[in-house]
Every structure is written in structure tokens, then in C-alpha cells.
């Protein structure tokens, strides 16, 4: 059973649909008590960093998530904005503290950092380069495509947290992982069979 954190932000329905499609049992958790009872968590999210952190606070989920993830080492997968919330901070909301499970900061794509003229958000299908063995995606020669929609990307302070990268103007981290904490910048739930594979693998690892 995978518990999807439902804090009023994001596309909970799409994540539920795909997990069910690949035969995984899911439930939605919206309170601290429900989070406390979960065995594996998915933190989805679309929207803005500051709004989402406020929503987690308003739902009184921040302490419960910290207890589960840090103290009990419950596996968690953050998707897109959910990945960003697992980090310490984002340029999108200066001064707003993230959950801080991964030592990373999010910065905005900018023309200034590259010679290419970039359209932002980075929106559409892109391939990834897997940097080290991990439970989510195989490290082999196959080209895997995932659907991205985002304007901010991770800068990891510990290079060993970098699981996979993607390129848009410059190379950026698109999967990170530390211990029981995982994040994908792309949307596996919108990424056809490669997304199904990834979520199935997360479920196999986490449950």
C-alpha cells in the first residue's frame, strides 16, 4: 500500500490512476494521523513552492512527515514540486523552509547560465542519464523519456545524492535520492510506460 499525501495541491488523481493501473494499492492521506499510519509515501505537487509549503503547514503535516521520514525512515517519493519540497529551499520562495530531507536548493532556469535561448518552463519529453544504481530506474543503455514541466531545478550539495540528470540548457539533477528519500523532477504519472516502470519499481522497493 502506497499512501499519497493529499494536501490540496496538485494532481493527486493522476498518481492514483497510474499506481492502480500497474496493480498497486493506494490510499490518500490528508491528516497527521493518516501519515503516521502509512508504510510508504508519495508526495505529489504542482504549483508554487511557497504555496505548497503553506498548505503542508495548514494541514499540520510537516511534523508528521519529518517524524515518518527522518525518525522512522519510511520511504518517500516526491514528484515535481513534491521533489522540491523535500529539499531545503527554493529561489521561488526565498526565506521559506522546505522539509529539508535532502541537502539541495532549487534555482530557476535562466538564459544567463547558458548560451542557448531557453523557453521556461522546461515543458515536454526529455531523456535522462542515470548516474548510479538505484531502486527507481535501471542504469543501462536504454533511452528513457519522461515528461517534465518545471521552471526550477535542484542543485545538490552532496554529489552522491545525484541519481540521474537531464539536459536543458545545462545539465541538471532530475532524480535525487538519499537513504529512504527520493525525488523525481519529471512526472512519472504522465510518462507512459517509463513512468509505469518507475512507479512499479518504487512500490517494489518501498512496500
Amino acid at each position: 500500500m502506497i499512501s499519497i499525501v493529499n494536501y490540496g495541491i496538485g494532481n493527486v488523481g493522476s498518481v492514483v490512476n497510474m499506481l492502480r493501473h500497474v496493480g498497486i494499492e493506494v490510499d490518500l492521506v490528508a491528516t497527521a494521523d493518516e501519515v503516521e499510519r502509512s508504510k510508504a509515501l508519495v508526495l505529489p505537487g504542482v504549483g508554487a513552492f511557497g504555496t505548497a509549503m503553506r498548505a503542508l503547514h495548514e494541514c499540520k503535516l510537516v511534523d508528521a512527515l519529518k517524524q515518518k521520514v527522518v525518525a522512522e525512515r519510511t520511504p518517500i517519493l516526491g514528484i515535481c514540486l513534491g521533489m522540491q519540497l523535500l529539499a531545503k529551499e527554493s529561489e521561488e520562495a526565498p526565506g521559506c523552509e522546505g522539509l529539508g530531507f535532502v541537502d539541495a536548493s532549487f534555482v530557476k532556469f535562466s538564459d544567463h547560465r547558458t548560451s542557448e535561448r531557453l523557453k521556461v518552463p522546461h515543458m515536454g519529453w526529455n531523456t535522462i542519464d542515470v548516474k548510479r544504481p538505484n531502486p527507481l530506474v535501471e542504469q543501462d543503455e536504454q533511452e528513457r523519456r519522461f515528461y517534465f514541466v518545471h521552471s526550477y531545478y535542484a542543485r545538490c550539495n552532496n554529489s552522491e545524492d545525484v541519481i540521474a540528470t537531464c539536459r536543458y540548457g545545462e545539465e541538471f539533477v532530475c532524480i535525487y535520492g538519499r537513504g529512504n528519500v527520493w525525488g523525481t523532477q519529471f512526472h512519472p504519472e504522465k510518462s507512459h510506460k517509463f513512468g509505469m516502470q518507475l512507479l512499479s519499481r518504487f512500490a517494489a522497493y518501498a512496500c
Binding site: N11, S14, A48, P121, G124, W125, N126, S151, S191, M196
Partner: protein, 267 residues
């Protein structure tokens, strides 16, 4: 690793049914938008767009059911446009399973609506639909020049607004993508208005989807290479089986455009 150019089939939906029909050989019911969506999902479409043209308010809710049933079977991004006027409309569409919503008339009437929506749901899910027609303007002592004027209500009502200026303003308010439709070309199969597409694509920093007028695969290539679009939207060439999505991708790839190749990617 390169960002792929997207091909987006668009389905016009009225009262929960596809209008104009979709002539896929293997569809049992060509009027069911969900069946059409599933077929496109299996055919390797990169995204899907529903345009709800339901006129009567009592049938407005039919689109939520269409989106919800589609989202159960299709694991690709879905944009829904038509009749999006309130924050509550967006919330309901996203809850039903839409990933992006496209706003047209409401964005013209109240640009701050776009700002409120982007603030609430994030730029990435707010698409502003820029529906424009060509017009000639005459300034004293200068040559006539072509411009484009914004229309609302499915291309019926002129607004006097300049399309390029309007596009820039919408991006400033938080639109994460622009769907640029030439109302002159829509349904003509004579190709995108490439000058319009390019004028907007070159002046904004968000992705532009070219729409209106596709009749051949060369039109798709031109939309990207000449029009500078990040994605191309088409309806009839796919619906009526003139070309498959895979053929379009083959063709565009042969012309040097990076495509997502995985036609058996469906569920």
C-alpha cells in the same frame, strides 16, 4: 538529451461528444472522446487537448466526466480549454485529471484572472489561448503593415487588442504556455500562420504551441522550423486518418526535429 518537440492532437468536445467525429478504423464509437483519447495515447501522441465547445450551461459538467474517464486510461498530459472562467472551474478540471487548462475569453476580459490562476495552481498549468486574425493597419505617413487582432468566443468577437502585445502581457501575468491559433487559417488546411506564430514565439520566454490550419506534414515542420513553435497542435489530419501521429513523427524527425519515438508507448 534534448527536449522533444510535441505533437498534440486536439479534440473538440460538445455535450460530452466529439464534434466532427474521429475516423479511426478501430474505434467502436467515433463520437466518444475517451475512446479517441485512448487511441491517441496508444498512437504515441505527446499530449492531448480537449476543447469544450458546449454551449448550454446545463451540459457544462459533461467535460469533467470526459476528463476523469480519460485520465483513468491515458498516461500523458491533458490540456482542457473552453469555458474556463473562474478559479473554481480550474480546480474542478485539475481534480478531474487535467494537467493544464487553457483560458481564452476570461483572460481577455480580466487579465488578473490569469495572475490569480497562476498564483494558485502554478504557471505550468495555465495556458492562455491566443486566438488572432490578421488585420492591416495604416499609420499616417507610413506603409500599411500586417498585425494580428485578438478574438474571443471561439473567434467570433474582435477585441481591438494587438496579439503580440496581448501575448507578452499574458506571460507577464503568469501564463506558462501560449496556444496561438490563427482564426484565418483554422479549418483551411493551408498551414499555420507562420508569421503570427513566430512573432509571438520570438517575443516571449514561454513555450508556444502553434495551432490552426494544418493540412500536411510539411505544415508541422514549418510550424517548428519557421514559426519557432515548441509544439504543434492539429485536429483533422489525425482525426480523419490522413496521417498517423507516427507518420508525423517520422516526417518531422527526418527534417531534423527531435521527437519522442515510442509509438507502442501506450498503456
Amino acid at each position: 538529451m534534448t527536449l522533444k518537440t510535441r505533437i498534440i492532437p486536439c479534440l473538440d468536445v460538445k455535450d460530452g461528444r466529439v464534434v466532427k467525429g474521429v475516423q479511426f478504423v478501430d474505434l467502436i464509437d467515433a463520437g466518444d472522446p475517451v475512446e479517441a483519447a485512448i487511441a491517441y495515447n496508444a498512437a504515441g501522441a505527446d499530449e492531448l487537448c480537449f476543447l469544450d465547445i458546449t454551449a448550454s450551461s446545463e451540459n457544462r459538467d459533461t467535460i469533467f466526466d470526459v476528463v476523469a474517464r480519460t485520465a483513468e486510461h491515458c498516461f500523458m498530459p491533458v490540456t482542457v480549454g473552453g469555458g474556463v472562467r473562474r478559479v473554481e472551474d480550474i480546480r474542478k478540471l485539475l481534480l478531474a485529471g487535467a494537467d493544464k487548462v487553457s483560458i481564452n475569453t476570461a483572460a481577455v476580459n480580466d487579465p488578473d484572472f490569469v495572475a490569480r490562476a497562476a498564483d494558485k495552481f502554478g504557471d505550468q498549468c495555465i495556458v492562455v489561448s491566443v486566438d488572432a486574425r490578421r488585420r492591416q493597419t495604416q499609420a499616417p505617413g507610413q506603409q500599411n503593415r500586417d498585425e494580428w487582432e485578438i478574438y474571443t468566443h471561439g473567434g467570433r468577437n474582435p477585441t481591438g487588442l494587438d496579439a503580440v502585445e496581448f501575448a507578452a502581457k499574458m506571460v507577464e501575468r503568469g501564463a506558462g504556455e501560449l496556444l496561438v491559433t490563427s482564426m484565418d487559417r483554422d479549418g483551411t488546411k493551408s498551414g499555420f500562420d507562420l508569421e503570427l506564430t513566430r512573432a509571438i514565439a520570438d517575443s516571449v520566454h514561454v513555450p508556444v504551441v502553434a495551432s490552426g490550419g494544418v493540412g500536411s506534414l510539411d505544415d508541422l515542420v514549418d510550424g517548428v522550423k519557421v514559426g519557432h513553435a515548441s509544439a504543434v497542435l492539429a485536429a483533422s489530419i489525425f482525426h480523419f486518418g490522413t496521417y498517423t501521429v507516427a507518420e508525423a513523427k517520422d516526417y518531422m524527425e527526418r527534417h531534423g526535429i527531435p521527437m519522442r519515438r515510442d509509438t507502442n508507448a501506450g498503456a
